[in-house]
Protein backbone atom coordinates (compact mmCIF):
# COMPACT_ATOMS: atom_id res chain seq x y z
CA UNK A 1 0.00 0.00 0.00
CA UNK A 2 1.72 3.10 -1.28
CA UNK A 3 0.97 6.35 0.54
CA UNK A 4 -0.66 9.30 -1.18
CA UNK A 5 2.30 11.61 -0.59
CA UNK A 6 4.57 9.04 -2.26
CA UNK A 7 2.14 8.82 -5.15
CA UNK A 8 2.21 12.60 -5.48
CA UNK A 9 5.99 12.60 -5.69
CA UNK A 10 5.94 9.67 -8.11
CA UNK A 11 3.75 11.68 -10.43
CA UNK A 12 5.59 14.96 -9.93
CA UNK A 13 9.02 13.54 -10.74
CA UNK A 14 8.53 12.81 -14.45
CA UNK A 15 6.70 16.12 -14.79
CA UNK A 16 9.70 17.98 -13.37
CA UNK A 17 12.06 15.94 -15.52
CA UNK A 18 10.05 16.97 -18.55
CA UNK A 19 9.48 20.63 -17.82
CA UNK A 20 11.28 21.77 -14.69
CA UNK A 21 9.92 23.66 -11.70
CA UNK A 22 7.50 25.81 -13.67
CA UNK A 23 6.66 22.97 -16.01
CA UNK A 24 4.01 21.38 -13.82
CA UNK A 25 1.12 22.45 -11.61
CA UNK A 26 -0.93 21.05 -8.76
CA UNK A 27 -3.69 20.51 -11.32
CA UNK A 28 -1.42 18.22 -13.36
CA UNK A 29 -0.78 16.03 -10.35
CA UNK A 30 -4.43 16.21 -9.38
CA UNK A 31 -5.50 14.92 -12.79
CA UNK A 32 -2.89 12.19 -12.83
CA UNK A 33 -3.75 10.52 -9.54
CA UNK A 34 -7.45 11.38 -9.27
CA UNK A 35 -7.30 13.57 -6.19
CA UNK A 36 -8.38 17.19 -5.68
CA UNK A 37 -5.85 20.01 -5.77
CA UNK A 38 -6.62 20.93 -2.18
CA UNK A 39 -5.71 17.41 -1.05
CA UNK A 40 -2.24 17.83 -2.50
CA UNK A 41 -1.88 21.01 -0.49
CA UNK A 42 -2.74 18.96 2.59
CA UNK A 43 0.35 16.78 1.99
CA UNK A 44 2.59 19.54 0.65
CA UNK A 45 1.34 22.98 1.71
CA UNK A 46 3.43 24.84 -0.86
CA UNK A 47 5.02 23.97 -4.17
CA UNK A 48 8.47 24.74 -2.75
CA UNK A 49 7.88 22.16 -0.01
CA UNK A 50 6.68 19.60 -2.53
CA UNK A 51 9.74 19.97 -4.74
CA UNK A 52 12.03 20.11 -1.71
CA UNK A 53 10.61 16.78 -0.52
CA UNK A 54 11.00 15.40 -4.00
CA UNK A 55 14.65 16.41 -4.21
CA UNK A 56 15.29 15.02 -0.73
CA UNK A 57 13.78 11.71 -1.75
CA UNK A 58 15.71 11.75 -5.02
CA UNK A 59 18.96 12.26 -3.17
CA UNK A 60 18.19 9.43 -0.78
CA UNK A 61 17.36 7.17 -3.70
CA UNK A 62 20.61 8.17 -5.38
CA UNK A 63 22.55 7.57 -2.19
CA UNK A 64 21.08 4.09 -1.84
CA UNK A 65 21.62 3.41 -5.54
CA UNK A 66 25.27 4.37 -5.47
CA UNK A 67 25.85 2.40 -2.29
CA UNK A 68 24.27 -0.77 -3.64
CA UNK A 69 26.28 -0.27 -6.79
CA UNK A 70 29.45 -0.21 -4.71
CA UNK A 71 28.39 -3.44 -2.99
CA UNK A 72 27.54 -5.11 -6.25
CA UNK A 73 30.76 -4.23 -8.04
CA UNK A 74 34.13 -4.52 -6.33
CA UNK A 75 36.23 -2.72 -8.92
CA UNK A 76 36.05 1.08 -9.28
CA UNK A 77 36.13 0.52 -13.03
CA UNK A 78 32.94 -1.54 -12.88
CA UNK A 79 31.34 0.90 -10.47
CA UNK A 80 31.86 3.79 -12.83
CA UNK A 81 30.72 1.71 -15.75
CA UNK A 82 27.58 0.69 -13.89
CA UNK A 83 26.81 4.31 -13.01
CA UNK A 84 27.02 5.33 -16.63
CA UNK A 85 25.08 2.28 -17.77
CA UNK A 86 22.29 3.18 -15.41
CA UNK A 87 21.78 6.52 -17.09
CA UNK A 88 22.23 5.07 -20.52
CA UNK A 89 19.41 2.61 -19.81
CA UNK A 90 17.17 5.35 -18.36
CA UNK A 91 17.68 7.61 -21.35
CA UNK A 92 17.35 4.72 -23.77
CA UNK A 93 13.99 3.49 -22.51
CA UNK A 94 12.82 7.01 -21.56
CA UNK A 95 12.08 5.88 -17.99
CA UNK A 96 14.04 8.71 -16.39
CA UNK A 97 15.58 10.51 -19.35
CA UNK A 98 17.12 13.29 -17.29
CA UNK A 99 18.51 13.80 -13.81
CA UNK A 100 15.99 15.69 -11.67
CA UNK A 101 18.72 17.82 -10.15
CA UNK A 102 20.44 18.55 -13.45
CA UNK A 103 17.08 19.80 -14.69
CA UNK A 104 16.58 22.01 -11.65
CA UNK A 105 20.19 23.20 -11.72
CA UNK A 106 19.45 24.98 -14.98
CA UNK A 107 16.72 26.93 -13.21
CA UNK A 108 18.76 27.80 -10.10
CA UNK A 109 18.34 31.57 -10.42
CA UNK A 110 14.58 31.35 -9.96
CA UNK A 111 14.24 28.40 -7.63
CA UNK A 112 13.09 28.97 -4.04
CA UNK A 113 16.13 28.95 -1.76
CA UNK A 114 15.08 25.77 0.02
CA UNK A 115 14.99 23.93 -3.31
CA UNK A 116 18.20 25.45 -4.67
CA UNK A 117 20.21 24.46 -1.62
CA UNK A 118 19.01 20.87 -1.94
CA UNK A 119 19.95 20.75 -5.60
CA UNK A 120 23.39 22.03 -4.68
CA UNK A 121 23.65 19.35 -2.00
CA UNK A 122 22.94 16.67 -4.58
CA UNK A 123 25.68 17.98 -6.84
CA UNK A 124 28.10 17.98 -3.91
CA UNK A 125 27.16 14.45 -2.98
CA UNK A 126 27.44 13.07 -6.50
CA UNK A 127 30.77 14.81 -7.09
CA UNK A 128 32.00 13.38 -3.80
CA UNK A 129 31.01 9.85 -4.74
CA UNK A 130 32.61 10.06 -8.18
CA UNK A 131 35.72 11.55 -6.61
CA UNK A 132 36.06 8.71 -4.12
CA UNK A 133 35.60 6.07 -6.81
CA UNK A 134 38.17 7.78 -9.02
CA UNK A 135 40.63 8.05 -6.15
CA UNK A 136 40.20 4.36 -5.25
CA UNK A 137 40.71 3.44 -8.89
CA UNK A 138 43.83 5.54 -9.13
CA UNK A 139 45.29 3.93 -6.02
CA UNK A 140 44.67 0.50 -7.54
CA UNK A 141 46.35 1.68 -10.73
CA UNK A 142 43.16 1.14 -12.69
CA UNK A 143 42.79 4.79 -13.64
CA UNK A 144 45.31 7.32 -14.81
CA UNK A 145 44.09 10.73 -13.66
CA UNK A 146 45.44 13.86 -15.31
CA UNK A 147 43.84 15.99 -12.61
CA UNK A 148 43.16 15.48 -8.94
CA UNK A 149 40.24 13.11 -8.25
CA UNK A 150 37.98 16.03 -7.33
CA UNK A 151 38.60 17.79 -10.66
CA UNK A 152 38.26 14.60 -12.65
CA UNK A 153 34.98 13.93 -10.87
CA UNK A 154 33.69 17.38 -11.82
CA UNK A 155 34.72 16.78 -15.41
CA UNK A 156 32.99 13.43 -15.55
CA UNK A 157 29.84 14.75 -13.94
CA UNK A 158 29.70 17.64 -16.40
CA UNK A 159 30.15 15.22 -19.29
CA UNK A 160 27.25 13.11 -18.09
CA UNK A 161 24.96 16.11 -17.64
CA UNK A 162 26.03 17.67 -20.92
CA UNK A 163 25.46 14.36 -22.65
CA UNK A 164 21.93 14.21 -21.26
CA UNK A 165 21.33 17.67 -22.65
CA UNK A 166 22.67 16.73 -26.06
CA UNK A 167 20.64 13.53 -26.14
CA UNK A 168 17.57 15.69 -25.54
CA UNK A 169 18.51 18.35 -28.03
CA UNK A 170 19.16 15.83 -30.79
CA UNK A 171 16.28 13.60 -29.66
CA UNK A 172 18.74 10.72 -29.92
CA UNK A 173 19.52 8.52 -26.90
CA UNK A 174 22.61 7.18 -28.66
CA UNK A 175 24.31 10.56 -28.33
CA UNK A 176 24.62 10.00 -24.57
CA UNK A 177 26.76 6.89 -24.96
CA UNK A 178 28.77 8.42 -27.79
CA UNK A 179 29.84 11.23 -25.46
CA UNK A 180 30.23 9.47 -22.13
CA UNK A 181 31.85 6.18 -23.15
CA UNK A 182 35.03 7.69 -24.63
CA UNK A 183 35.18 10.03 -21.66
CA UNK A 184 35.23 6.96 -19.41
CA UNK A 185 37.65 5.06 -21.60
CA UNK A 186 40.22 7.81 -21.41
CA UNK A 187 40.51 7.26 -17.65
CA UNK A 188 41.39 3.57 -18.00
CA UNK A 189 45.08 2.72 -17.79
CA UNK A 190 44.74 -0.26 -20.12
CA UNK A 191 43.39 1.88 -22.89
CA UNK A 192 46.54 3.94 -23.25
Amino acid sequence: MISTSEKILDVAQPLIVAGGYNGFSYADISDAIGIRKASIHHHFPTKAELVSALVDRYRQQTERGLKSLQEQFASPTDQLQAYVNFWQACIGDASLPFCVCAMLAGEMPMLPDEVASRVRAHFHHLAGWLSSVLQAGAEQHLFRLDQRPHEEAQMLMASVHGAMLSARAFADPGVFAAIVKPQLARLLVAER
Copy 2:
Protein backbone atom coordinates in the same frame (compact mmCIF):
# COMPACT_ATOMS: atom_id res chain seq x y z
CA MET B 1 17.74 53.95 -32.66
CA ILE B 2 17.03 50.42 -31.56
CA SER B 3 13.71 48.95 -32.65
CA THR B 4 11.05 47.88 -30.17
CA SER B 5 11.13 44.27 -31.32
CA GLU B 6 14.87 44.19 -30.73
CA LYS B 7 14.32 45.71 -27.30
CA ILE B 8 11.77 43.00 -26.52
CA LEU B 9 14.23 40.26 -27.46
CA ASP B 10 17.00 42.01 -25.52
CA VAL B 11 14.85 41.90 -22.41
CA ALA B 12 13.53 38.40 -23.02
CA GLN B 13 16.94 36.81 -23.45
CA PRO B 14 18.26 37.17 -19.89
CA LEU B 15 14.83 36.18 -18.59
CA ILE B 16 14.96 32.93 -20.58
CA VAL B 17 18.56 32.36 -19.52
CA ALA B 18 17.45 32.69 -15.90
CA GLY B 19 14.24 30.70 -15.95
CA GLY B 20 13.65 29.02 -19.29
CA TYR B 21 10.58 29.10 -21.50
CA ASN B 22 8.09 29.09 -18.62
CA GLY B 23 10.27 31.37 -16.52
CA PHE B 24 9.08 34.63 -18.03
CA SER B 25 5.86 36.25 -19.17
CA TYR B 26 4.71 39.05 -21.43
CA ALA B 27 4.08 41.05 -18.26
CA ASP B 28 7.76 40.73 -17.27
CA ILE B 29 8.83 42.19 -20.62
CA SER B 30 6.12 44.80 -20.44
CA ASP B 31 7.35 46.00 -17.04
CA ALA B 32 10.97 46.00 -18.13
CA ILE B 33 10.64 48.20 -21.20
CA GLY B 34 7.63 50.32 -20.26
CA ILE B 35 5.23 49.12 -22.91
CA ARG B 36 1.80 47.47 -22.61
CA LYS B 37 1.46 43.70 -22.91
CA ALA B 38 -0.76 44.10 -25.95
CA SER B 39 2.00 46.01 -27.75
CA ILE B 40 4.33 43.04 -27.38
CA HIS B 41 1.68 40.86 -29.01
CA HIS B 42 1.74 43.27 -31.94
CA HIS B 43 5.41 42.44 -32.56
CA PHE B 44 5.24 38.78 -31.56
CA PRO B 45 1.67 37.46 -31.73
CA THR B 46 2.44 34.34 -29.68
CA LYS B 47 5.05 33.37 -27.14
CA ALA B 48 6.25 30.56 -29.38
CA GLU B 49 6.92 33.10 -32.13
CA LEU B 50 8.74 35.39 -29.74
CA VAL B 51 11.05 32.65 -28.50
CA SER B 52 11.51 31.31 -32.03
CA ALA B 53 12.64 34.74 -33.15
CA LEU B 54 14.92 34.97 -30.14
CA VAL B 55 16.54 31.63 -30.91
CA ASP B 56 16.91 32.58 -34.57
CA ARG B 57 18.63 35.80 -33.57
CA TYR B 58 20.79 33.95 -31.05
CA ARG B 59 21.91 31.50 -33.69
CA GLN B 60 22.75 34.30 -36.08
CA GLN B 61 24.73 36.07 -33.38
CA THR B 62 26.56 32.84 -32.61
CA GLU B 63 27.25 32.27 -36.29
CA ARG B 64 28.71 35.74 -36.64
CA GLY B 65 30.66 35.35 -33.40
CA LEU B 66 32.24 32.08 -34.40
CA LYS B 67 33.06 33.41 -37.85
CA SER B 68 34.75 36.53 -36.52
CA LEU B 69 36.61 34.34 -34.06
CA GLN B 70 37.91 32.30 -36.97
CA GLU B 71 39.04 35.47 -38.72
CA GLN B 72 40.69 36.82 -35.59
CA PHE B 73 42.63 33.66 -34.75
CA ALA B 74 44.43 31.66 -37.42
CA SER B 75 45.23 28.60 -35.33
CA PRO B 76 42.51 26.10 -34.43
CA THR B 77 44.08 25.93 -30.97
CA ASP B 78 43.49 29.63 -30.43
CA GLN B 79 40.02 29.44 -31.93
CA LEU B 80 38.95 26.78 -29.47
CA GLN B 81 40.60 28.65 -26.64
CA ALA B 82 38.79 31.84 -27.60
CA TYR B 83 35.47 30.04 -27.74
CA VAL B 84 35.93 28.71 -24.24
CA ASN B 85 37.24 32.04 -22.99
CA PHE B 86 34.12 33.76 -24.28
CA TRP B 87 31.90 31.62 -22.11
CA GLN B 88 34.26 31.84 -19.18
CA ALA B 89 34.03 35.63 -19.34
CA CYS B 90 30.23 35.58 -19.70
CA ILE B 91 29.80 33.29 -16.74
CA GLY B 92 32.38 35.18 -14.72
CA ASP B 93 30.77 38.61 -15.11
CA ALA B 94 27.25 37.15 -15.18
CA SER B 95 26.52 38.92 -18.49
CA LEU B 96 25.24 35.76 -20.21
CA PRO B 97 25.81 33.06 -17.62
CA PHE B 98 24.18 30.31 -19.66
CA CYS B 99 23.67 29.42 -23.30
CA VAL B 100 20.09 30.21 -24.35
CA CYS B 101 19.83 26.99 -26.32
CA ALA B 102 21.37 24.82 -23.60
CA MET B 103 18.72 26.22 -21.28
CA LEU B 104 15.94 25.46 -23.71
CA ALA B 105 17.38 22.04 -24.57
CA GLY B 106 16.58 20.95 -21.03
CA GLU B 107 12.96 21.80 -21.65
CA MET B 108 12.70 20.16 -25.07
CA PRO B 109 9.82 17.82 -24.14
CA MET B 110 7.48 20.73 -23.49
CA LEU B 111 8.70 23.28 -26.01
CA PRO B 112 6.51 24.19 -28.97
CA ASP B 113 7.76 22.31 -32.04
CA GLU B 114 8.85 25.48 -33.81
CA VAL B 115 11.11 26.38 -30.89
CA ALA B 116 12.43 22.85 -30.34
CA SER B 117 13.50 22.48 -33.96
CA ARG B 118 15.41 25.75 -33.77
CA VAL B 119 17.18 24.69 -30.60
CA ARG B 120 18.15 21.46 -32.32
CA ALA B 121 19.45 23.45 -35.28
CA HIS B 122 21.69 25.48 -32.97
CA PHE B 123 23.13 22.31 -31.47
CA HIS B 124 23.80 20.96 -34.96
CA HIS B 125 25.46 24.16 -36.01
CA LEU B 126 27.67 24.44 -32.93
CA ALA B 127 28.68 20.79 -33.14
CA GLY B 128 29.52 21.31 -36.80
CA TRP B 129 31.70 24.31 -36.08
CA LEU B 130 33.58 22.57 -33.27
CA SER B 131 34.00 19.52 -35.47
CA SER B 132 35.53 21.53 -38.30
CA VAL B 133 37.94 23.32 -35.96
CA LEU B 134 38.99 20.03 -34.41
CA GLN B 135 39.50 18.46 -37.82
CA ALA B 136 41.59 21.39 -39.02
CA GLY B 137 43.65 21.19 -35.84
CA ALA B 138 44.18 17.46 -36.27
CA GLU B 139 45.33 17.94 -39.87
CA GLN B 140 47.85 20.52 -38.70
CA HIS B 141 49.01 18.09 -36.02
CA LEU B 142 47.97 20.51 -33.28
CA PHE B 143 45.39 18.14 -31.80
CA ARG B 144 45.50 14.45 -31.12
CA LEU B 145 41.97 13.15 -31.40
CA ASP B 146 41.04 9.82 -29.83
CA GLN B 147 37.70 9.87 -31.64
CA ARG B 148 36.56 11.18 -34.97
CA PRO B 149 36.21 14.98 -35.06
CA HIS B 150 32.44 14.73 -34.91
CA GLU B 151 32.53 12.65 -31.70
CA GLU B 152 35.20 14.83 -30.12
CA ALA B 153 33.09 17.88 -30.93
CA GLN B 154 30.07 16.33 -29.20
CA MET B 155 32.21 15.53 -26.17
CA LEU B 156 33.59 19.04 -25.97
CA MET B 157 30.17 20.62 -26.40
CA ALA B 158 28.74 18.42 -23.66
CA SER B 159 31.60 19.37 -21.37
CA VAL B 160 30.93 23.05 -21.92
CA HIS B 161 27.21 22.71 -21.28
CA GLY B 162 27.72 20.44 -18.30
CA ALA B 163 30.25 22.90 -16.91
CA MET B 164 27.72 25.71 -17.21
CA LEU B 165 25.25 23.60 -15.27
CA SER B 166 27.78 22.84 -12.55
CA ALA B 167 28.83 26.47 -12.28
CA ARG B 168 25.16 27.28 -11.67
CA ALA B 169 24.58 24.44 -9.25
CA PHE B 170 27.62 25.35 -7.15
CA ALA B 171 27.07 29.09 -7.66
CA ASP B 172 30.77 29.27 -8.52
CA PRO B 173 31.95 30.60 -11.91
CA GLY B 174 35.37 29.07 -11.29
CA VAL B 175 33.93 25.59 -11.70
CA PHE B 176 33.42 26.24 -15.41
CA ALA B 177 37.11 26.77 -16.07
CA ALA B 178 38.12 23.91 -13.79
CA ILE B 179 36.09 21.54 -15.94
CA VAL B 180 36.62 22.89 -19.43
CA LYS B 181 40.31 23.84 -19.38
CA PRO B 182 41.66 20.33 -18.71
CA GLN B 183 39.19 19.00 -21.27
CA LEU B 184 40.74 21.35 -23.80
CA ALA B 185 44.29 20.64 -22.71
CA ARG B 186 43.88 16.93 -23.30
CA LEU B 187 43.34 17.59 -27.01
CA LEU B 188 46.63 19.43 -27.42
CA VAL B 189 49.51 17.40 -28.83
CA ALA B 190 52.11 19.39 -26.93
CA GLU B 191 50.56 18.58 -23.62
CA ARG B 192 51.19 14.86 -23.90
